[in-house]
Symmetry: C2
């Protein structure tokens, strides 16, 4: 198959692309290195990389038209939620407008399949937890989540009108090697710089389901293979949660820092930042009913990722 | 109160503004006359009109900052759904980006309340009918509805992060005097031009709940007065439906056209156009529980509107 991946230098794509290449796909990728890192770009004869801003519709349309993929994995986004509270048009541009450009390029070139990385954040602070896919009304509390909702809706409208099949996954927190952001990434980098002090956003009680990236990708591919509706919407998560306090402790331990010699400062708020959803539980029964269960629990995903990232950032480049 | 109305030369606003003025509000309005008509702009010493494109953030922010309204009724939108299938960025710009600009102007000026005209179209083709507000997943099938979903989400995210209270109404089809589009408007104009022939989009079986604009405005104001959550989401509709075939017959009759002398041509599809939701039933129990029930049924709203519009377009200007 011919697969185009957006956000190709980002966390999830840089884990996805080697999988696709291993099974013989021909792959092209787009990234502008806003969050993505040059060192994460895959080098392979069957992979073509385009350095390109997805906000440039005409250039995106050209890449899509020329490569003519069978399927697009649209993974590009601002995935740093707190960023969107500083620049209020950030998610609008980097999420909503970019997704419009991808869909419009698909329409023009007659591309038939899109896979989209949405987020459990679309549910805002739901009254039902674990939250199922049919929960409503959808009242997101961050501009990041608002943009994910906007993207989902653009995708379903394009799907209906222009004969595009779509798989929309509402993720828990995805973790693993090649991070570009997120709590583990931040802790490891900050502790590497100053192992005597760690300032934590929020009071550490925030707890979410963490999914290991290989499980995430397995689940997404399982869904593509087994969910055949025109528009397929699935939560992709695990049933347990991990707290920021646990992540703090485990990261300090994994970096070999003496707990007695570090000053860990928690905030006062149960939220990490404005728009942060402090407690997330996603109902995973729909995905399980389809036949897919992640291998790793949240706890295992987090512990594995801390090991991955401490190792990677000890030795590897950061740019 | 000081009230700012967007889409001030449009259908709903031109019915709203006289009501606000009658009860002593000071009102300002913005419109760019894309759908709105110059003849619909209210002339009153307590009303200030700004001819302005809401896509121009800096000018909108200036108007909001200078007028400093207590509340914004954000009614501007492309309300001609079929238009969005011809120009795929039309609703993105005229709905989503415009709403971002209104919210961002509110944030900058510290404005605390927004009233928003959303649509029952957000539900797409729901499996539950009548469709309640908590229906999910939200899978809109038109770019118009996708944009309404995006706007709702932007509003809820801004509400959470910037202390804005919001009333979001998911409308049935609103009808009444001063139309700018819609089936009754179109039929009357086309029959005035050629009373011997009427081409109808779709097979005429499409049926929706029509709400008379005075009932719509009563309901919206009732909600503002009685629903005190930070974000309030209500369907605003009636329980019966009217079919396009009924509207066709009643309009021909009201225009005094001899049924034997007119060639009415229905289409083959149960949809009026791509992205049209052919059967709409909105659950109105939430609004009723709050204490509001529209005075007119769908049938009464349609018949009254046909009378209004035949009269208005016989005598009044169209520009």
């Amino acid at each position: 198959m011919r697969i185009l991946v957006t956000g190709a230098a980002g966390f999830i794509a840089s884990n996805l692309i080697p999988r696709l290449l291993r099974r013989g796909d021909e792959v092209a990728g787009i990234d502008n290195f806003f969050l993505g890192k040059r060192s994460y770009v895959v080098k392979d004869p069957n992979f073509t990389f385009h350095e390109l801003d997805l906000l440039d519709l005409e250039r995106v349309a050209e890449v899509v038209r020329d490569f003519k993929p069978d399927r697009i994995w649209h993974l590009a986004a601002n995935s740093d939620i707190s960023f969107g509270t500083k620049y209020t048009d950030f998610d609008l541009k980097g999420g909503t407008l970019v997704t419009y450009n991808v869909l419009e390029s698909m329409r023009r070139a007659g591309i038939g399949q899109i896979v989209f990385s949405s987020s459990g954040a679309v549910y805002g602070e739901p009254t039902v937890m674990p939250t199922p896919e049919d929960y409503g009304p959808i009242l997101p509390i961050s501009l990041y989540a608002a943009s994910k909702v906007a993207c989902e809706s653009l995708i379903t409208a394009y799907a209906h009108n222009y004969d595009i099949q779509a798989w929309i996954y509402r993720f828990g927190n995805i973790v693993g090697p090649n991070p570009t952001h997120g709590v583990i990434h931040d802790f490891v980098l900050r502790l590497r710089e100053d192992p005597s002090r760690l300032v934590v956003l929020g009071d550490g009680s925030q707890a979410k389901p963490y999914v290991y990236v290989e499980d995430c990708l397995e689940g997404m591919e399982f869904g593509i293979g087994h969910a055949g509706d025109h528009v397929n919407v699935y939560n992709l998560a695990v049933d347990d949660q991990t707290s920021v306090r646990e992540i703090t402790d485990w990261t300090i331990e994994a970096m070999g820092i003496d707990r007695a010699k570090i000053d860990v400062q928690y905030g006062d708020s149960p939220r990490g930042w404005r728009g942060d959803v402090p407690q997330v539980k996603l109902d995973t029964r729909r995905m399980i009913a389809l036949g897919f269960t992640p291998k790793r629990s949240s706890r295992e995903a987090v512990r594995q990722t801390i090991t991955d990232v401490v190792q990677q950032f000890r030795e590897g480049p950061l740019s």
